[in-house]
Symmetry: C2
Subunit: 165 residues, 2 copies
DNA sequence: TATATACCCTACCATTACAGTCAGGATTAC
DNA sequence: GTAATCCTGACTGTAATGGTAGGGTATATA
């Protein structure tokens, strides 16, 4: 079973995209700042997300990423599947060759667990996450934080520009 | 989320114990043969299982391990918890310090998932696994295989003994 | 047309964990 | 006493994760 920072980052980034869907294409730089995820790492993740047709990209200045479809048609399971190889809880990858070519004692149990997890995450759309109050609160906090940092950066630049001029 | 061969092996071994509960203490050597798990590795796992009071040990010849309570009072979640550090799906270990000391955007989602998995595995006792037909069939296959190998080994020893005498 | 912004891609690397080995002990039935 | 068994700790190869580095390529805007 593989559910690590990789899958979590991917879902977080996609949720960020869904939350800011109204602002046109969203740059990875923005996501990187808001969610504190390394930009290069995000690029790797979004490469896979694009290959799996979950996002589409716009190049050039003002560019960024967009969800490839409506947020109620994108589910957490799809995102995790896209960046992790599988969300399979078995050791054999579901093939049933876990003990010397045949199934092991606990094969069926892990199959059941896999189904359970998959069903759960398949039922959660980005739209349903966006609608959650606890998530909206966190999102607002991060947006404010980013705006604050941007204001600081701008003011620094103004000072530096005025000292030059 | 950590669910790897380690946790799977532990559950498999405990299930083996439950299936052979009538035969007195079960040696790790036997489990190792039947389930094809390295003996040294099993020893490490059982050290943790013992610390978590899931099994009790009997030393000396004829010794081995026993379930520390009835198989309907031991649940899969407890076993996985005992050998893995946690079955937590969050990155922060549930503390909510996932993004710079505060919670990240997807914290609540991973908490929900953790609960989901934990509830599922907490509801499955060793007894309920032992009762499953598909598991009984696998178990019979492994027992036969072991008996066959033992018979072969014995016959080899007889030949070797007779050639010596 | 120059330039800055942003996506895109490949190779590389440090750390960590897993899965397993090895070597030696301690305990106890026979 | 000897063999079977549990018990413990140190060690190791491999693979994955999480991340860095350094190049590209496309395109909006001045």
């Amino acid at each position: 079973m593989r559910l690590t920072t990789k899958g979590r980052y991917a879902v977080t980034a996609m949720l960020d995209l869904a939350l800011h869907a109204d602002n046109g294409p969203i740059s990875l730089a923005g996501i990187s700042k808001r969610q504190e995820i390394s930009l290069s790492y995000l690029e790797q993740l979004f490469s896979k997300l694009r290959q799996n047709d979950l996002v589409s990209s716009v190049r050039g200045p003002g560019g960024g990423y967009r969800l490839s479809r409506s947020s109620d048609e994108i589910f957490v399971a799809q995102i995790v599947d896209a960046v992790n190889e599988s969300i399979d809880a078995t050791n054999c990858g579901g093939t049933g060759s876990c003990r010397n070519g045949e199934i092991c004692l606990t094969h069926h149990l892990w199959c059941d667990l896999s189904d359970q997890i998959h069903d759960f995450l398949s039922g959660i759309s980005l739209a349903s996450l966006v609608a959650r109050k606890d998530i909206q609160e966190v999102s607002e906090r991060l947006d404010k934080e980013e705006a604050l940092q941007k204001a600081e950066a701008d003011s620094m630049q103004r000072i530096s520009a005025s000292s030059l001029g």
